[in-house]
Amino acid sequence: MRARVTIMPKRNVLDPQGKAVVRAIHQIGMEIVRDARVGKIVEIEIAGNDAESVRPKLEEICRDLLSNPVIEDYRLEFEK
């Protein structure tokens, strides 16, 4: 089983990378883009197939290591 963790800067936190990406998009003439935010995705392979039994442990991993709750939010999803 595979889990996918998406980590994004919180909405109220400045995202300098996102700002630079927007500037670059505008530089290539694509004015339709108003904003962009840059985060990261972590794919995790897990033994077994029972998402609910491993969810608490994965939430802990997301909270303590993969994201920093001061500046980031995460979303945890399972893929079959």
Partner: protein
């Protein structure tokens, strides 16, 4: 604890000369790269006993002060300091800090202390998106007191260089208010006249914050590198004030614990 190694003729000499050297433990994580500079500053420049502590060790070997040096621990993977935070050496550092031991995190060391929750807030990428390597001026926000700034005066300006890509200190409004209320902000970036202005902010840090302590004052994190500013040959000596403050503090603590 001074180990009671005072010489028999101790009374005829100044008390401070009878103390054994102060012990600085410099942590080495994979990717630390300012460890030698810190060892040199505490050892050769300040004349104290400085030694390395490998990140896998679990004993601080009697250090009076622990330094987490700059660098790119674990390649800055995931987030700066995020992986170093789980190194075995961090458990004794936590205990040491809780008991009032002096912990100084410089640059990446500051980022590690934030990730470890030993200091509040987090680091964002520099607002400029550039790695900033330059001399900065810092205003001492709380001098003449405390383990890290007793040798400086409040309002004194220090020249100490920075070199980082992620030194944009962030904390929410409530945390910033608390830091200010408790006098935990030790240094702010300022201009040549001591004004804490946006133009003097090299990385976009909230309220120009360059260094903060924990509530008790015994853990300091700072982005500028005092170890690179301890000798005239390096172009700046103001970093010595931080080391001198540390020595003063440890000396005073030894005197009071011996009394």
């Amino acid at each position: 604890m001074n180990g009671g190694r005072a010489a028999p003729d101790a009374e005829s000499r100044a008390p401070r000369e009878t103390f054994p050297l102060m012990r600085f433990g410099v942590i080495r994580f994979p990717g630390s790269n300012c460890d030698q500079d810190c060892l040199h500053a505490a050892g050769a420049v300040m004349g104290q006993e400085a030694f390395y502590l490998w990140h896998k060790e679990t004993d601080l070997r009697g250090a009076d002060c622990v330094i987490l040096p700059g660098g790119f621990s674990y390649g800055d993977y995931l987030r700066c300091g995020a992986i170093a935070r789980f190194a075995p050496i961090m458990a004794p550092i936590r205990r040491f800090a809780a008991e009032g031991g002096l912990v100084l995190g410089i640059c990446n060391g500051f980022q590690i202390l934030l990730e470890a929750g030993l200091l509040p807030g987090a680091m964002l990428r520099n607002a400029s998106l550039r790695f900033q390597c330059q001399m900065t001026r810092l205003r001492v926000e709380r001098g003449s007191i405390g383990p890290f700034s007793s040798a400086a005066r409040t309002g004194e300006l220090l020249r100490i260089p920075i070199a980082h890509g992620e030194g944009n200190y962030y904390a929410d409004a409530a945390t910033l208010a608390e830091l200010n209320r408790n006098g935990q902000v030790l240094f702010r970036y300022c201009d040549e006249r001591g004004r804490v202005a946006p133009e003097a902010n090299p990385n976009g840090a909230s309220e120009n914050i360059a260094g903060i302590t924990n509530r008790a004052g015994n853990v300091l994190g700072m982005m500028p590198h005092p170890e690179r500013a301890c000798e005239a040959a390096l172009g700046a000596e103001d970093g010595r004030l931080i080391f001198e403050s540390i020595l003063e503090w440890i000396r005073a603590r030894r005197i009071s614990s011996a009394a």
